[in-house]
Symmetry: C2
Subunit: 145 residues, 2 copies
Amino acid sequence: MKTTVPKKLFQKAEKLIKDKSLSVTEPRKNILAFLLKNHGPFSMEEIHDGLGKNACDLATVYRCIVLFENSNLVERRYLGDEILRYEYKDMDHHHHHIVCRICKSVSKMKYCFISEIEQMIRDKGYSDITHSLEFFGVCAKCNQK
Amino acid sequence: MKTTVPKKLFQKAEKLIKDKSLSVTEPRKNILAFLLKNHGPFSMEEIHDGLGKNACDLATVYRCIVLFENSNLVERRYLGDEILRYEYKDMDHHHHHIVCRICKSVSKMKYCFISEIEQMIRDKGYSDITHSLEFFGVCAKCNQK
DNA sequence: AATTTTTTGCAAATAATTTGCATTAATTCT
DNA sequence: AGAATTAATGCAAATTATTTGCAAAAAATT
């Protein structure tokens, strides 16, 4: 991954962090800017590598991602293997993923109509309902082989 | 957990294992019977403990569960924390879960109408589609406190 | 600019999962 | 059914992933 991140995204990252009243540090800016640039989701290691070596310690990635997750800036994804991955949580673009079981490619799915189910759950007395929805399959390319 | 498992379930477990042409061993029977008796889903440790001490080694639980998963006898669940859990995969009773974010209680949800989405994904060239769908919220009890 | 508070890097600790291998158990083959 | 073969298990050790303590560095506050 390891791509150059435009200055604009650093500024956006900085603003997002500030708006959550978190202190703005180099590692945090780098990590969030990386996630703004690249859709992911990425594992901790992938994020660490993506920043380029010596950007910050892996332990710092763990700490920042957990912080971002608690601040609702980052969303954790479970994609069927044992690795947890993270991506920027864009409130305006709720979506899910389709993961190929063979090549592990991930493609975005913007459709999601489970609000009816959520309403049912709300009727049972639950509040603050969220969901996790991912699809798995064998993609067209892998089917050809 | 650690409940006594009726003989009938041991026999059912044995049959299920045999039908997948896997060798039938004590640990495998115990583990599957435990999952037939208790809904779960359970972590590796919970399964191990549930069998009663000295039933088999924890490493054996890992090996058996992975085997069962590959044979489609057991289903892996991601419930929002970092622990993966497993339950018996009853082909006739596809379902999902609602997890309370506070007390972690898990309740079953038999509703699932995402076949339309799966069709869309199929149209994109994917095959063998499955999905993972879990809901999270704060349950009625926890809301009272 | 100085002080206080928070975060980071590094190393070490912990926890989770996997593996090698000798032993034991299950299956297969007379 | 019993011997031979194959596969699974237990145990310990190795590996991997994640977390933590603490001194140093950086950010926020004054």
